[in-house]
Symmetry: D2
């Protein structure tokens, strides 16, 4: 049973970094770079796979663990970036979906 | 007032893509690539800024809009990727924080 | 008829940036970020394509121009990064191929 | 003494991959993804460094080796991508510099 709230995850990440004195490193620029690096690590898992192989990557326990680990890293840096710049990620996404509903009407 | 639930945002994204027939494109490999591309677009905002300039990027309304827009894109592709591979992003992050508490003890 | 020498391209890029006063921005960290951003823009061209569509991307003049343009940007930032840190890219690659010949013997 | 010719490095990479039966993996889309992943690994070296620390990264032999290794990987995938799509990287860059001389006049 895990917490599903973005706010709570952001707070846990903030507390984790603060307790270790990592705040000086967590500038918006550094966190944007780290986010991009981790997104690359997630992509690395898929880079040589055919679409068919990529579709069954979670059937392998080691690959599945790696996928979950990289998803966690991407989400962690995204939420820490949002904390650093004061952006509400869920509100930003909700607003974007609304803009896209106009941009790509049914 | 926006929805804060990851589950609900995932469902809205799934419905949005399904209504437009985009599911065939939303393979795990393509979504991992798109996530990486969008993370790069977020980083682009900061690439030439000094740490001081990067710290005040949200003071400029145009830059602030761009930041929120790219955050939304990164989160959208991360959530759609998680839907495609059946990963719970909040659970993955909570598990990672717990592993990191052991890896980086106080 | 184009120059094929990496050295000469590096020099042209250095002169171009110097003439415009861009050197202060061309730190190793900024150039590594810009390189990653441009590699993402190249990937963006392919992100939703099937392997079959990706194989024929150069048949479309607009797409072909975009591919050449992004290749140029990636190479430009890679060479400028190498200038900034004093790395000889061709020597680095030749040394890597030699290590890989041992790592992946026939 | 290393080879400085882009053409020769491209040929060595092609031969290396062919001798190991790797051509089926070296599609334009996969190589663009791999290029982006390796650019991320280069950026990873710099992500937490201050501009001052980043400027002296080559003074540390281990870091310097890592930088050269990632430069080699980026260049390798860029050249292999160019082979796969039939783009002359030096010509693409020379043409881009000429366009930029018009776009950013002195």
């Amino acid at each position: 049973m895990t917490d599903k709230s973005i706010d709570e995850l952001q707070q846990r990440l903030t507390d984790f970094a603060a307790a270790r004195g990592w705040e000086p490193f967590h500038t918006p620029k550094n966190l944007a770079a780290a986010l991009s690096v981790e997104a690359g690590e997630l992509l690395e898992i898929f880079q040589w796979l055919t679409p068919e192989q990529a579709a069954t990557v979670m059937a392998d326990p080691d690959q599945a663990h790696r996928v979950r680990d990289e998803v966690a890293d991407v989400l962690a840096y995204l939420l820490q970036f949002c904390t650093a710049v004061g952006v509400d990620p869920a509100a930003a996404l909700a607003a974007k979906i609304e803009r896209n509903e106009i941009r790509f009407p049914l």
